[in-house]
């Protein structure tokens, strides 16, 4: 009996099967990858860290007075400039003093040169990943935070960097990023990233910052789940209504003092 399947049909069938299989594989792989970094992981990350985190930027800072049980520190550990093909890393040059047992997050501030635009090549990506993950070897660091104001054209590069950093970091080291409030609200490209936390920055915002603040005041929440663990605020700006159950990262333009930390703790009560 002559077979009903022509060569053309067989080829088409194989092609469709391959495509369907690839899609299924990709989705499954993606899901399993994302499953590793989804709600349980997010919650676990939240639960292991104090709910108040002070950002310590590039200035002489003495935080030996803080209570490590209640307050963590995210300090600027290095500034990384992307310039042409280069990745230029500058370590922290101003002293930071912390008490024992404090939870420490090392922050990498990444900046793209305005005049010599970065090429965003694979090589540059590798160097940036290496520079960021190196911070995990600093003493007592339990988390890494990337602070990169990636433009739209830089997003896919940044995505690959985040994936690369997560792959190279030990499991015990958390990965956090700062995020534009708009990324968390109406322009969500973060939800499928392998990060433990995206901190919506609710200060020095664009004109639409007031809109976002209004929406938060109105009881609305961020669309992206990774943005629902924490907030980033500055002590010198008014804040919308924030949930006290979320971690609060606080920036202060002036040096941290005992009274300024105390006043934040009072507000959180």
């Amino acid at each position: 009996m002559k077979t009903a399947f022509s060569t053309k049909n067989i080829t088409a069938f194989i092609a469709v099967t391959l495509v369907a299989g690839s899609i299924t594989f990709g989705v499954t792989k993606g899901r399993s990858f994302f499953r590793e970094h989804r709600p349980n992981k997010l919650a676990a990350y939240s639960n292991t860290r104090p709910s108040l985190v002070l950002w310590a930027w590039e200035r002489p800072t003495d935080l030996t007075f803080i209570d490590p049980g209640q307050t963590a520190v995210a300090f600027l550990a290095r500034t990384i400039h992307l310039r042409g093909d280069e990745v230029v890393t500058r370590p922290r040059l101003q002293p930071l003093k912390l008490p024992e047992r404090v939870t420490v997050v090392a922050v990498a501030r990444v900046e793209s040169d305005a005049t010599k635009k970065p090429r965003l090549s694979n090589e540059q990506e590798s160097k940036l990943v290496a520079s960021i993950t190196e911070m995990a070897s600093l003493a007592n660091v339990s988390g890494i935070q990337i602070d990169f104001d990636a433009t739209k054209s830089e997003r896919s590069f940044y995505r690959e960097v985040i994936i690369g950093v997560r792959r190279r970091l030990p499991e015990r080291i958390g990965l956090s990023i700062t995020a534009l409030a708009s990324w968390c609200m109406d322009d969500d490209w973060l939800s499928d990233l392998p990060i433990d936390e995206a901190v919506p920055m609710l200060f020095r915002m664009a004109t639409d910052g007031k809109q976002i603040a209004n929406r938060l005041d109105d009881g609305e929440d961020f669309t992206s789940p990774v943005c629902r663990q924490s907030y980033g605020v500055s002590i010198d700006e008014p804040r919308p209504n924030l949930s006290s159950s979320r971690r609060l990262y606080v920036f202060r333009p002036d040096p941290w003092t005992e009274s300024s930390v105390r006043s934040i703790m009072e507000l959180r009560k």
């Binding site: 030996t64 300090f75 550990a77 280069e86 230029v88 500058r90 370590p91 922290r92 040059l93 101003q94 002293p95 930071l96 003093k97 912390l98 008490p99 024992e100 404090v102 600093l138 003493a139 007592n140 602070d147 104001d149 433009t151 739209k152 054209s153 700062t178 995020a179 534009l180 708009s182 109406d186 322009d187 920055m201 200060f203 020095r204 915002m205 664009a206 004109t207 639409d208 007031k210 809109q211 209004n214 929406r215 005041d217 109105d218 609305e220 605020v233 500055s234 002590i235 010198d236 700006e237 008014p238 804040r239 333009p253 002036d254 040096p255 300024s260 006043s263 507000l267």
Partner: protein, 760 residues
């Protein structure tokens, strides 16, 4: 939040595409930042700073960085800068404003690696890092460990050894292997090259001894390094013996610099001082004298800060007092900052008295101290010395109820107009007269200054005087003349340093405009001017065209909002001249027979032209075309008038909402204030534009469903709730307009285009 009622199955995907298209191409977490006008610099004098060094000080501000106050004091004291000093202090400002000049360690390292690559067959060098962590428990800090001279010296030495032994010689290869070990300590760890074999060439053995000492230095083993350099210094056969004493001193300095406690810090620094003085006295070590001299300055800063501070102050204020003026001012201000602290206000009472034990430091610290004690002290010093710096300090701190105010004012009027002090005393003299309610005298003084000295005033100072004169305006004409000002510069102020942009960069934003309103003028227009005067201001030709255009459009919109038909119609005629594209819509307003019809016509016009608003802008204002949606949501109006778009907000602990400053209207407006306030309140009660425009569109459509403008108005009103100011009420109005559009005009193109409503 997007409504959960999509009308089509692919609505969700369409929304994703729409949102991603509409968001700006380039955004920053702390921004984006917008260029705006700066009328009065608060962080530094006007640019270019060269003019500041020549005595064009403007109004000297206590909040400026101390290096500017050094220059101010010199000029006020009558001791002008010579060319070397002027260029030195200018170089200091350039370096500090550009973050101290970038350390180009990658270039140093590359130079070394390029030299190294001339030797064939070597394995690749491990990565070299110039910075090293301090490695202290619970502390995080890095420092520049291997500096440029280390790499330059290595390159020079390698080249010489290649010349002597050949690039492929064992001696050169051994030398490089050892040097690689030296540089491995720059970033971390402690690795020391092997001690030389006795049968190796004497030069290589001498080099090795040097490399071992250097490795210990970079690894932080300072005692070992010092001992080894001392041994090299004693070895006259070593090519390094004349450099070694200096390097031994440097090892001691590093040790002292890294110590935490005084008892660990002072002895090595003292020993360093002794050694460096000895080097400077020894002519056989002349090759190290320049480096030793620089290092000794650093040691003095650390060991004898107060004494060094005063020594530097004395040389800075003396003419031709210091060859390296830039370094002297740099060291002086760093020391003063250390005593006082950079960020908190100065409280001279809390400082050790020896800090202000020289005239320069005394003046700077007093000038920056905002207390009444400092004010009294300044006045006392002026009375005692009659010196110009103290006159400036005294008059800056004085109030209108000051005892002996007239003496101060009289002294101010005697200051020559060419004097560096003139602008400061002129401005503060007027301030004091206003404070003392001697308004006519203040006005007369300002008119003299603006007539005779205007051309010589820096822009910030001119704007300060214009602001004073505006506050004393007797009529609308005087107000308009002084309300419009040329900014001192334009900046996005993204880092809070008020660095001005080049004119070519700002042209696109200013669109050729040269004069703008500062916040004080805009606030008067927006909150303290009744419609009758807004109309007169709109008609007046005093204002620059861009400002007149802004006043006209705000007059029309505001009059339309409160249904002041007469003013609105008059403003409409003027608006039409400026914007012919509005003709059809303005005509509709003018022909509208009822209040409701007028309200709708005005609302429809506003919906079509999102740049219209009832307020005058401060600074550059909105830059998008009037008929286009601004992608940063600067569309229509909010309940409050707009404020500056540039830079970070003013600092204050953010526990409470920042409140708008009260407006102080000029005298001629005071009788009309209750009317102005009623009219302002009438606009405010209408709330943010999107809510209002939705309401008007809905109300009109319900009564006039056949109006062909209605569906478009509803569509645009819903759009306004997406791109304009919103609040808690926005959602309900957006939904109301959306529902009405789809119920009344379900098959219209406008309904099809309106897929969602917005909560705001």
């Amino acid at each position: 939040m997007i409504a959960r009622f999509p009308r089509k199955t692919f609505a969700f995907l369409a929304w994703i595409g729409l949102v991603s298209f509409l968001f700006p191409h380039s955004t920053q977490a702390c921004g984006p930042f917008f260029t705006d006008a700066i009328f009065v610099y608060s962080k530094h004098p006007d640019f270019p700073l060269e003019q500041f060094t020549t005595g064009k000080l403007g109004v000297v501000e206590p909040g400026w960085a101390r290096s500017y106050l050094v220059a101010a004091y010199r000029n006020l004291s009558g001791v002008n800068f010579n060319t070397n000093e002027a260029s030195g202090i200018k170089a200091l400002w350039d370096e500090r404003l550009n973050y101290g000049g970038e350390v180009d360690d990658s270039a140093w390292i590359k130079k070394w690696l390029d030299a190294r690559s001339k030797v064939p067959g070597l394995s690749a060098s491990a990565e070299i890092r110039a910075f090293r962590n301090r490695e202290k428990p619970h502390e995080y800090e890095s420092f520049l460990n291997c500096q440029e001279d280390a790499f330059n010296n290595a390159v020079a030495t390698l080249n010489e050894r290649i010349k002597r032994f050949g690039a492929e010689s064992a001696q050169v290869r051994d030398w490089i292997v050892a040097q690689d070990i030296v540089f491995s300590n720059c970033g971390a760890g402690r690795k020391i090259p092997e001690t030389p074999q006795p049968d190796q060439d004497a030069l290589i053995r001498a080099d090795r001894a040097y490399q071992i000492a250097a490795a210990n230095f970079y690894a932080g083993s300072f005692d070992e390094a010092r001992q080894q350099f001392d041994a090299i210094a004693r070895d006259n056969s070593s090519p390094w013996h004349d450099k070694a004493p200096y390097l031994a001193a440097r090892s001691l300095l590093r040790k002292g610099s890294f110590a935490d406690k005084d008892e660990e810090r002072v002895p090595p620094l003292t020993a360093t001082e002794t050694r460096l003085n000895a080097i400077l006295k020894d002519q056989s070590l002349a090759s190290s004298h320049q480096a030793a001299s620089r290092l000794l300055n650093l040691v003095h800063l650390r060991l004898h800060p107060a004494e060094t501070l005063h020594k530097l102050a004395h040389t800075i204020i003396a003419k031709d007092g210091k060859a390296d003026f830039k370094q002297a001012v740099w060291d002086y201000t760093v020391l003063l900052d250390k005593f006082v602290g950079n960020d908190e206000g100065v409280d001279k009472q809390k400082l050790p008295p020896e800090v202000s034990a020289d005239e320069l430091s005394d003046w700077i610290l007093t000038f920056q101290d905002q207390s009444t004690t400092a004010a009294s002290y300044s006045f006392g010093q002026w009375q005692k010395t009659r010196a110009l710096p103290w006159l400036v300090a005294a008059i800056t701190k004085a109030t209108g109820t000051q005892p002996q105010l007239d003496a101060l004012l009289s002294a101010a009027t005697q200051v020559d107009h060419q004097s560096p002090a003139f602008t400061s005393v002129a401005f503060h003299g007027v301030r004091l007269l206003i404070d003392a309610k001697r308004v006519d005298e203040a006005r007369a003084a300002l008119d003299r200054y603006l007539a005779n000295d205007r051309q010589n005033l820096p822009a910030s100072a001119l704007n300060l005087l214009l602001a004073q004169r505006m506050s004393l305006a007797r009529n609308l004409e005087e107000f308009l003349q002084t309300a419009q000002r040329k900014p001192a510069g334009f900046s996005d102020d993204s880092d809070g340093r008020e660095l001005p942009e080049e004119q070519s960069e700002t042209k696109e934003n200013t669109k050729g405009g040269e004069l703008f309103f500062d916040q004080d003028a805009a606030s008067v227009f927006n909150k303290a001017m009744p419609m009758s005067l807004m109309r007169d201001a709109a008609r007046s030709r005093i204002l620059a065209p861009n400002l007149r255009r802004d006043v006209i459009q705000s007059a029309f919109v505001r009059a339309a909002l409160i249904d002041d038909r007469e003013t609105a119609v008059q403003a409409a005629s003027l608006l039409q001249e400026m914007h012919p594209e509005l003709k059809e819509f303005l005509a509709a307003y003018q022909m509208a027979a009822t209040a409701d019809a007028r309200r709708f016509a005005a609302a429809y016009l506003s919906l079509k032209f999102p740049g219209l608003r009832p307020y005058v802008s401060y600074g550059i204002g909105r830059t998008s075309p009037m008929n286009e949606i601004d992608s940063y949501r600067d569309n229509w109006w909010c309940a409050e008038p707009p404020s500056s778009r540039s830079g970070a907000p003013s600092e204050s602990e953010g526990e409470t909402e920042s409140k708008p400053k009260p407006v102080v209207p000029p005298q001629f407006l005071k009788p009309l204030q209750s009317l102005a306030l009623r009219q302002y309140a009438a606009v405010q009660v209408l709330g943010a534009a999107p809510n209002y425009l939705c309401r008007i569109a809905v109300e009109w459509t319900e009564k006039n469903p056949a109006d062909r403008r209605a569906p478009e108005a509803l569509h645009l009103a819903v759009k306004a709730t997406r791109y304009g100011c919103t609040d808690k009420e926005t959602g309900r109005w957006s939904k109301a307009a959306f529902d009405l559009l789809h119920q009344r005009y379900p098959n219209s193109a406008w309904a099809k285009e309106t897929k969602y409503w917005f909560k705001g």
